[in-house]
């Protein structure tokens, strides 16, 4: 073997064969053989599963097996799950479970599971036996080729070769070489094909993935519309009950002042002062409404500046880290701003923290927020805090929120908002 390695560069490239390649090939082959051998086991399980399902179907035909059908299908998912895990490990790619909640009878994944069980029951055991049999057979042929003189009348080796003479022994060795070659060439391919088939059938069907995504988007869109509607109603109410009413009062006060202008200048003066005060109140309310729609600081300073200002305003010391270029869609930046504002308010109220880290980052396609405090932890989204609102805000933008808050802290909130590009 050393000679090959020491050969000229051109030899090495032409032959492309050295100890490294050989060990890799052997290792690949060994892992493929193991995979297929275990596959023979799961193939056996598949046969049992199919037989069991068939039996239940027969019972259905006589009318007693129907209640057992759904549990039987659930039970058959067990060997299928084993193959799904094995294939995922072999391919190094995650294969998510395709099952939906509800009856397995209506689940499109059941039909694909059954297809896999049938294919694997029919082929897995055979291929697995080959994977074990071929290398063992090769060893047997070689051993036979050397020990036959010691056995009177010769030995019958595999493939019906009767080894009782040296030419026959040579034939046995040749067949051993063929078996080894077949193992080396075939097994990695078979293992790969088996894993790919499992992946194709046991992952969620492409259509199902899309359908689930559509269902999710429909739900979040409905929630976003609902939230948007509630927001519009709130703004309308604030403007109607507050600002509008006060400006109407101003108009009224000025009208009366106009009427009294000649007769009662003293009262007119009072009315003007009142009108001015009322208009000032209206402006103050308008500012509050504007802040709740789109904080002016966001327009003037961008998200980074606005978040820094939030940090400065917080009673708990806040460190703000920004690795973020401004200029994302205004709605996304406003959502991010309100998430930070709500979280800091939560921290102040509940966390008993001594410091908070806010970091703002992401790529052009996604805006990432992380807010970490050293408080007492134990934040629970289900217990009516602002956290559920933050999740809804994120989901309205097809974003995600994750929260870790073990008792004793620290609490970390992460929010990702896609920027629609």
């Amino acid at each position: 073997m050393g000679r090959w390695i020491r050969g000229s560069a051109s030899t090495t490239t032409r032959v492309g064969w050295n100890t490294g390649v050989v060990t890799t090939r052997l290792r690949e082959c060994w892992s493929a053989v193991r995979y297929l051998a275990v596959g023979a086991g799961t193939s056996l399980l598949s046969i049992f599963a199919l037989a069991g399902l068939f039996a239940v179907l027969l019972l259905c035909a006589v009318g007693v097996g129907i209640p057992a059908l759904a549990p039987a299908i659930r039970l058959s998912r067990w060997p299928v799950a084993a193959d799904r895990r094995r294939a995922a490990r072999r391919l190094g790619e995650a294969i998510p479970e395709p099952y939906r909640d509800g009856s397995p009878l209506k689940d499109p994944a059941t039909r694909r599971d059954l297809a896999w069980l049938a294919i694997h029951a029919a082929t897995g055991l055979f291929i697995g036996s080959l994977a074990i049999g071929l290398p063992l057979g090769a060893v047997q042929q070689v051993v036979t080729a050397f020990v036959w003189p010691a056995v009177p009348g010769g030995i019958e080796a595999s493939l019906g070769i009767m080894v009782n003479s040296w030419p026959q022994a040579g034939l046995a060795v040749l067949s051993a070489v063929a078996m080894l070659a077949a193992t080396l060439l075939l097994m990695p391919r078979l293992a790969r094909r088996q894993a790919r088939t499992a992946q194709r059938l046991l992952a969620p069907a492409p259509g199902v993935v899309l359908a689930d995504r559509v269902a999710e988007l429909t739900a979040t869109r409905a929630a976003a519309l609902e939230a948007h509607g509630a927001e519009l109603r709130r703004i309308e109410r604030d403007l109607h009950d507050g600002t509008q009413a006060r400006i109407a009062a101003v108009v009224l006060q000025l009208g009366i002042a106009g009427q009294l202008y000649d007769r009662d200048p003293a009262t007119v003066r009072d009315l003007l002062v009142k009108a001015q005060d009322t208009a000032t109140d209206a402006l103050a309310e308008l500012r509050t409404v504007v802040r709740s729609i789109y904080p002016p600081l966001l327009s003037e300073r961008g998200l980074a500046g606005a978040v820094r200002a939030l940090g400065e305003r917080s009673p708990v010391p806040v460190t703000v880290t920004v690795e973020y270029e401004t200029g994302r869609p205004a709605a996304v930046e406003a959502a991010a701003y309100f998430v930070v504002a709500e979280t800091l308010a939560n921290v102040t109220k509940h966390a008993d923290a001594s410091e908070v880290d806010v970091s703002l980052g992401g790529t052009t396609g996604v805006l990432r927020l992380e807010i970490r405090d050293d408080g007492r932890g134990g934040a629970d989204e289900t217990r009516g805090s602002g956290l559920a609102g933050i999740r809804r805000r994120a989901e309205a933008f097809d974003g995600t929120m994750s929260l870790t808050s073990p008792p004793g802290g620290p609490t970390v909130l992460r929010v990702e908002l896609p920027c629609g590009s």
Binding site: A279, L283, R291, E300, R308, E312, R313, P315, T348
Partner: protein, 218 residues
């Protein structure tokens, strides 16, 4: 007094000009954007500047940045910034150079003409005029073991007026108490908050109070 106005809303700009002229103040220029303002400032130093925050072309914070820039060109140039909303962080930025002559008011404060003119005059003389809303926000920031909690209601009122930039006499007038009473309150406040004794007076006193209120606010 010679004043420059920078305000992009025509109605407000004309209104301000009229208001100042009526009060006998000379308006040497009234511009509608930050660039023209800075071009004017390069060649002339007015006694005071009245400035909007949001102006063309980007309608962001160019007024504020122009104000800071103008004070680099003419150190301690009195600037009164007007805005439709107030942000404590802007107040902190305006006061950052510590030389005084700074005002920061909501636009509608112009309506109380006398108080507005008084604020402009204070700023022109190197004093301070902070909007009550800014002070209110600074004072309502809840802190752990808040020292402001130790103040009486009256002392809090006095502190707020001090932070807005009023002198003792005006505070006494506004609260309808005697000068002596105000002096007593102020001594108590400084003692309770651990501020250096009231030696500086005027603008330095305001800065001390604002720095105290804005502490941890950057």
């Amino acid at each position: 007094m010679r004043v420059v106005i920078a305000e992009d809303d025509a109605l407000l700009r004309e209104g301000l000009s009229l208001l100042l002229k009526t009060a006998g103040i000379e308006v040497v220029a009234a511009v509608d954007n930050a660039e023209d303002f800075l071009a004017f400032i390069e060649g002339d130093r007015p006694d005071a500047v009245v400035m909007d925050v949001r102006m063309p072309p980007t309608h962001r914070d160019e007024g504020l940045r122009a104000a800071v820039r103008a004070r680099e060109i003419h150190p301690a140039l009195p600037v009164l910034v007007l805005s439709a909303h107030v942000e404590t962080s802007y107040a902190v930025e305006l006061l950052a150079d510590g030389v005084g002559g700074v005002g920061y008011l909501l636009k509608e404060r112009v309506g109380k003409v006398e108080r507005f003119l008084d604020a402009l005059e204070r700023v022109a003389k190197g004093g301070t005029a902070m909007d009550p809303e800014v002070i209110g926000r600074l004072m309502s920031r809840r802190r752990a073991a808040d020292p402001l909690a130790a103040l009486t209601a009256r002392e809090r009122e006095v502190l707020a007026l001090m932070a807005e930039g009023y002198n003792n006499g005006t505070i006494a007038e506004l609260l309808v108490v005697s000068d002596g009473a105000v002096l007593k309150h102020i001594r108590n406040i400084f003692a309770k908050l651990g501020l250096p004794s009231d030696e500086g007076g005027g603008h330095r006193r305001v800065l001390a109070v604002l720095a105290y209120l804005g502490r941890d606010a950057g």
